[in-house]
């Protein structure tokens, strides 16, 4: 982008929207607890999500211990293992990643990046967090109800989810479904805010095609969530009725413990359709914000404009749209008309096109850039590698004939952990290292950051790479112990121990990260307003951390896109979005 001076009218039209008045907190309670400031809500969301995420992390340790040393731990019985699996999956996907990306990053970054004072409806935004917290508390309560949490697997497939014999059948499943319903209600309140803020609350000059890709990613993911969560909501309501009222939406007639059950005529496959109509878009609800954030990290830390911005935007929107027509690829082994299998395999593989396009564009952004290997950049690079790895195994699993033998094995576990577990979490870390200085005014410790990065990155590969191999060996997933089988070689047990040790180490590295977060709050290096010399608006606020209302007296005016790095002829190697065109006399 070269500065071009246009006519006397300037690049920015007159204001169409007057400035908004904000609710000003009157007491400590409305300032820090029931706060309507999106930035505080973002931090509340992030801390809650991190706390519940730690629970899921501990659950994964327990599962790994059981897999590596079956029989050693008397407190891990088969039913406990299934409860751990269920809670680990549900917490990580919904209560951690979705909440952290949309509620955490979305709340903090959207108003700042689009140049707004706050979300459009701060009060509703506040409610969103408190309902989310309630959902989390309800979820946690399932550890304390009689029978413990549900052990139906995170997909909660009926009929087993509500039949006796499944752990947590009495209380756990009810608590889980209620928690999901609450989460969806809370999320909808926040999600409407994010979407309307991006559509209607932008600063003067902030056109859609000048939005940072972070905002595009979070925006598209939120729209998707608003359309995908209804399916889960409906499914959860219906399963709750099946369990509590004895309706038979998902329940065929069957024999339960020698008795003919009261149910009859329902469709278990219906739940799978509803669940995956939510579940597949959910993958991209988590991935698209990661795509957006990683684009901004790479561009900033490679001091180069993002390659193919317009293509990147269309790829995000295209992936979002396509992800609604691929859900049945999770159901190949459920049995379906071969024509449907063909259709869903085709649409699934088509998604590889926009995603590959994004990967090429990231690589081309790095190409001949002035790459600074800062901690956020390391995480961004690690994301690209990991996402490609996870994506490639997705090409295997997208094909019906390859999926059918692999579907029940550890290969699938390896695939989805790489692509929607490790990859987005790496971006979460990268994003936190990148924006922590803006949130707190201090830098995170670099040495601890690098330690955290290398252990996490290499450790994640030590955990999940061997799992592909285990899967190809035929090691089934969902089994709490393997026992003696003819087809699984004994070396698998050794590999399982290796994976578990790696998992424990990676988990411990996260404690280093948490320590860093807390310690840097008071001991970190003073960051200043714009430590990374970034162009986007959040780095141009008058105060750091930004005050309530973000911008002081006047809203920013945007004159350029978000990626004016290393512009030839400019004084510095970045030009902030709110810097007017430089008039040259020549």
């Amino acid at each position: 982008m070269v500065d071009v001076v246009r006519g006397a009218g300037g690049l920015v039209p007159a204001a169409e929207v007057e400035d908004v008045e904000l609710y000003h907190p009157k007491s400590w309670l409305t300032k820090y607890v029931f706060c309507q400031d999106a930035k505080v809500i973002a931090i509340q969301y992030s801390l809650t999500a991190t706390a519940i995420g730690l629970v899921a992390l501990v659950l994964s340790w327990l599962m790994r211990l059981q897999l590596a040393f079956p029989g050693y731990f008397s407190f891990i019985q088969a039913e406990n293992y299934y409860q751990f699996i269920t809670m680990h999956g549900m917490i990580m996907v919904i209560y951690l990643l979705t909440a952290l990306f949309l509620g955490g990053f979305g709340n903090y970054l959207i108003p700042l990046m689009v140049g707004a004072r706050d979300m459009v409806f701060p009060y509703v935004n506040m409610l969103s967090y408190w309902i989310y917290l309630l959902a989390v508390l309800v979820l946690v309560s399932s550890f304390f109800v009689p029978g413990g949490p549900t052990g139906a697997g995170w997909t909660l497939y009926p009929p087993q989810a509500i039949l006796s014999g499944t752990p947590g059948r009495d209380w756990g499943i009810i608590v889980m479904l209620v928690s999901l319903i609450l989460f969806i209600i809370g999320f909808t309140m926040g999600g409407l805010n994010y979407v309307v803020t991006v559509l209607q609350g932008r600063a003067r000059g902030m056109t859609l095609m000048r939005l940072p890709l972070t905002v595009w990613g979070i925006f598209t993911a939120t729209v998707m969530a608003l359309l995908a969560f209804p399916a889960l909501f409906v499914g959860a309501v219906m399963m709750l009725f099946d369990r509590l009222l004895g309706t038979s939406f998902f329940m065929p007639s069957l024999v339960e413990l020698g008795q003919r059950s009261q149910y009859g005529g329902g469709s278990p496959i219906l739940w799978q359709h509803l669940f995956w109509f939510f579940g597949h878009p959910e993958v991209y609800i988590v991935a698209l914000p990661a795509f957006g954030i990683v684009s901004d990290l790479i561009s900033t830390h490679a001091r180069k404009n993002i390659f193919g911005y317009r293509m990147m935007v269309w790829a995000i929107v295209g992936i979002g749209a396509l992800s609604f027509v691929v859900w049945a690829h999770h159901m190949y082994v459920s049995g379906m008309n071969p024509n449907f299998g063909f259709f869903f395999a085709t649409t699934t593989l088509i998604i590889a096109i926009p995603t590959a396009l994004k990967v090429y564009n990231w690589v081309l952004t790095l190409w001949r850039g002035d790459i600074h290997l800062t901690v956020p950049m390391l995480f961004a690079l690690a994301f690209i590698v990991t996402f490609v790895n996870g994506g490639l195994t997705g090409l295997f699993l997208g094909n019906v004939v390859v999926d059918v033998p692999l579907s029940g094995t550890m290969f699938v576990v390896a695939h989805f952990h790489m692509v929607m577990g490790v990859a987005p979490i790496l971006v979460v870390f990268g994003g936190i290292y990148h924006w922590y200085p803006k949130v707190t005014g201090r830098m995170l410790d670099d040495t601890l950051g690098r330690l955290h990065f290398w252990v996490t990155f290499l450790g994640a590969y030590a955990i999940f790479f061997p799992m592909h191999y285990l899967g190809l060996q035929g090691v089934p997933r969902r089994y709490y112990e393997l026992g003696q089988t003819a087809f699984i070689p004994p070396s698998v047990a050794t590999l399982n121990v290796f994976i578990t040790v790696a998992a424990l180490i990676v988990g411990a590295a996260q404690m280093v990260f948490l320590f860093n977060l807390v310690r840097s709050l008071s001991h970190g290096k003073e960051a200043g307003g714009n430590p990374w010399n970034a162009t986007t608006l959040e780095w141009q606020t008058p105060q750091t951390p930004p005050a309530h209302g973000n911008w002081g007296k006047e809203l920013p005016v945007v004159y350029r896109w978000a990626y004016d790095y290393s512009v030839p002829g400019a004084d510095r190697d970045f030009v902030p979005q709110n810097q007017p065109a430089i008039v040259r006399s020549a």
Binding site: G7, P13, V196, Q200, R204, G205, M206, L226, G266
Partner: protein, 241 residues
Amino acid sequence: MMDRAASSTLGDARARPPGWRGVADDWSSDQRAFKNVSWGKVMMWIFLLSDTFIFSCFLLSYMTVRMSTTAPWPNPSEVFALEIGGKPIPLILIAIMTFILISSSGTMAMAVNFGYRRERRTTALLMLATAAFGASFVGMQAFEWTKLIGEGVRPWGNPWGAYQFGSSFFMITGFHGTHVTIGVIFLLIMAHKVWRGDFDRERRGFFTSRKGHYEIVEITGLYWHFVDLVWVFIFAFFYLW
């Protein structure tokens, strides 16, 4: 690449090029994607889009279980018949309910009109009329539920066939009835505010501390019309099919 985006923000909105390009430029221009549409109205539209997915999922699920069950599906014309003058008249109550709900959309539309004319008493009265229609709809639904429960219909079974008949009936009409009830409560609150003249004086909201405007009548109306429209689909797919 960025040139076109930049030139589209030159001068005022009216200077944008004609045709599709103008549409695209309008959409992607700064500040607002939807010109002259307030935040609240956009939010309601997007909420309704999300809610559409909820009702679509409910209706599709009902159709799926209707196909999956092997038991015969009760005939809605017989189940939803009222005996009047010794003769069963099919769907008569549902017809009246539908008529009432659609009429309430008429009074709602008039309320919006009078709201923008700032005739606050007429507006409030029309909103109250709408709420009364809505409440009578819910009342008739309660009557219908009572009658069916008296005849032995339960969420888990009924005397005539597929379990899923009762399940779907109570779930879908219950969910829709909840929407109508919320709408009635919202209408009553807003009618009260209109009557008191909050929107003439731009009185601030209790929770949000935002200034109130007559536009909220229209936003309430959007929700109300949506609930009506959903009923038309429930009527067609559940009662007529």
